[in-house]
Amino acid sequence: MKKTLSFVLVLCLTLSLGTVPALASEKVEITFWKQLFEEFDQDWTTKMVEEFNAQSDKIHVSLEFVDQGALEERMTAARAAGTAPDVYVVNYSNLATDVRNGYNLATEGLIPKEAYDDLYENVLDMITVDGHVYGYPHLLEPAAVMYYRKDLLKAAGFENPPKTWQEHIDMAKALTTDDVFGTTMTMDWSMWGWEHTAMGHWPLTEDWSSADIKDLAPLLTYIKQLYDDESAPAQALEHYNNSATLVANDSVAITFSGSWGIAALRNDWPEMVDKIGVAAVPTADGSPFQSTMGGWTYQIDAKSQHPEAAAEFITWLLADDPSRPAAFFEAAHFSKYTVRKSVDKWLVENTEAGEDEWLQTVARDIIPYGIKEPSYPWDVSAFLLAAMNEVVINGVSPEDALATAEQEINTFIENSKLVKPE
């Protein structure tokens, strides 16, 4: 009896010892939510996560895609439930709001300094709030790029795309027919770049104490002219983000959208690519247009149970071997721009990035003049858009519309006790 007992005991001990290494190697589980962007982005993200999981014996990343329309409400709900993902993706303009709410972690201790040194100056600035760095950026995309139909312009007698507002107005009018609109001019969030270029500053005073929008009047007049001429459709044919397709499906001759439109055109309308040209957006006097630089950055949730693991994943994915982000930019047909000097170098050395005409145009004429997205509350932009609509649709004079907007912005600032964060 004693012998059997001790035998069983030894057996149990051996077995448990055998399982101990297995327990020790149990992986840390990280959740990662990614917006549903283009298919190439989905493919790249999925592949990268698989690779990471395969090469890591300590961390397992579980990836989930969420469509952009549903993401915001889901994030709020998840945060309220305490189930927010360890790693999530946010755009530069919303980063400061997340910081203000304490949603994300400062990462100077978690992501190596070399990674941050590799970033371009202005990009590092975009992820720095109040002296701390947050997460790591993935890409940069100018939010305002002009797409035009070279063949339609040529047929109307124009060799080059418009550079000034007047040229734009004239060309758009000449290009408008029964079935094709000369241009689009969507009044949406994208107007940031137009506003800043027209005024030379943001719609608020430096300290955010009141509105500063008197210099916007000429911009409103210009937009109104396009609508009055019926060169721009009175009702947007597409959301701004999707507008690049309009030059491909013969709806309009000139349009504006973000640089991501390049990928949409190359993927969905390859047969039209030769007929389409890309250029910087026209300005009042032909000086460079200041497009806001949109883009996405990977963040770590402030309540994450495994911030180091999350940081390790983000570093591996974005800040490490340049070939990994580079694969993304290649798949994106160079419609998105890298934020790291080393990745840029890698792309030029190993791909046809150097020869792509559209990429060259954007890199030369748009990116150098790019500005950071604004961080004041959306309400301010909403009031300005309302003013634009009043001018265009209801025929209110720009001065009156701006006076109203100024009043509304000031009331809003006062009512919500708006304070500019440091």
């Binding site: 549903l36 989930e64 969420v66 469509d67 329309g69 889901r74 597409e238």
Partner: protein
């Protein structure tokens, strides 16, 4: 001759005129649905083509429907199955508990009855959105997120449903019930054998109404359910509207299929529904 006309009701010519008007009006109701139907067979780029505008597809393709089956992030057919399960079980549960409560309020005297009834009616005036956020917190604390429970349970408490049933029960004759009571039958027995069989109309109306409410909801599922096993079909269509902005045919195909079950349900029960609208609650 004149009295004969009177007996037949309106003269034939007037009836025809009314019928023509009815048909024209009905065309307005039906046309957008027909348009959705044909467009779901069109190639994406053709859906919004205006020159020339084609009502019928130049080529009837089924690619849009195939794409639905292939979507990796929001699997359409899984969503249909999940929504069917939730809607049917929730509808059945809803009419069970609410009609039972309505019977008690209609026929039984008990302490606190007025208070409880007033409370129940009060809940009708609380809009869903007001308690959306805190409802979420409640279900989270109960650990119900990402399950069938979170989709089914919250909507079961429908004061309107109780109200509707109660209205109907109040109008039912008491004689048979009283006799059964004297014979010693339990309230449950009475409810089960007398009231339910004679209340087909409100059951159908409330049942189909509940089914519809669940089938067509998207905001609550979007907040509480993300596992592919549980996503609901309207939640999926909303996402398709964003994701397939470049391929409208797919959005329309999904919308068409998602709209079919409620329509079929209605077609099956329409006689009851129409009759029921006539009898119940209009008193």
């Amino acid at each position: 001759m004149q009295s004969e006309l009177k007996r037949r009701g309106r003269p034939h010519r007037a009836r025809t005129a009314f019928t023509v008007i009815a048909v024209i009006v009905t065309l307005f109701s039906v046309f957008p649905l027909l348009w959705m139907f044909v467009s779901s067979f069109k190639e994406g780029k053709e859906v919004l083509r205006a020159n020339p505008l084609r009502f019928f597809p130049s080529q009837w393709i089924t690619a849009n429907f195939q794409k639905l089956a292939e979507d990796r992030t929001y699997p359409f057919w899984q969503a249909m199955r999940s929504t069917a399960f939730v809607s049917v079980s929730a509808a059945l549960l809803s009419i069970s508990i609410n009609s039972m409560a309505a019977y008690a309020y209609a026929r039984i005297e008990f302490t606190f009855k007025t208070l409880l009834w007033r409370l129940t009616v009060l809940s009708m005036y609380i809009p869903g959105l007001t308690i959306l956020v805190t409802s979420f917190v409640v279900v989270n604390n109960l650990g119900l997120l990402d399950s069938y429970w979170v989709l089914i349970l919250p909507g079961l408490a429908s004061a309107y449903s109780i109200f509707f049933f109660r209205q109907f029960f109040l109008n039912m004759p008491m004689a048979v019930e009283e006799a059964a009571l004297i014979d010693g039958a339990s309230r449950f027995r009475i409810f089960y054998s007398i009231f339910i069989p004679n209340a087909k109309s409100p059951y159908v109306i409330m049942g189909t109404g509940a089914f519809l409410g669940y089938w067509n909801s998207f905001l609550w599922p979007a907040m509480t359910v993300t596992n592919q096993k549980y996503v609901q079909v309207m939640q999926v269509i909303r996402s398709y509207n964003n994701v397939y902005a470049n391929n409208y045919g797919v959005v329309l195909a999904g919308s068409l299929l998602a709209a079919l079950p409620p329509v079929l349900l209605f077609l099956v029960f329409q006689r009851y529904i129409v009759k029921g609208l006539m009898i119940s609650g209009i008193k």
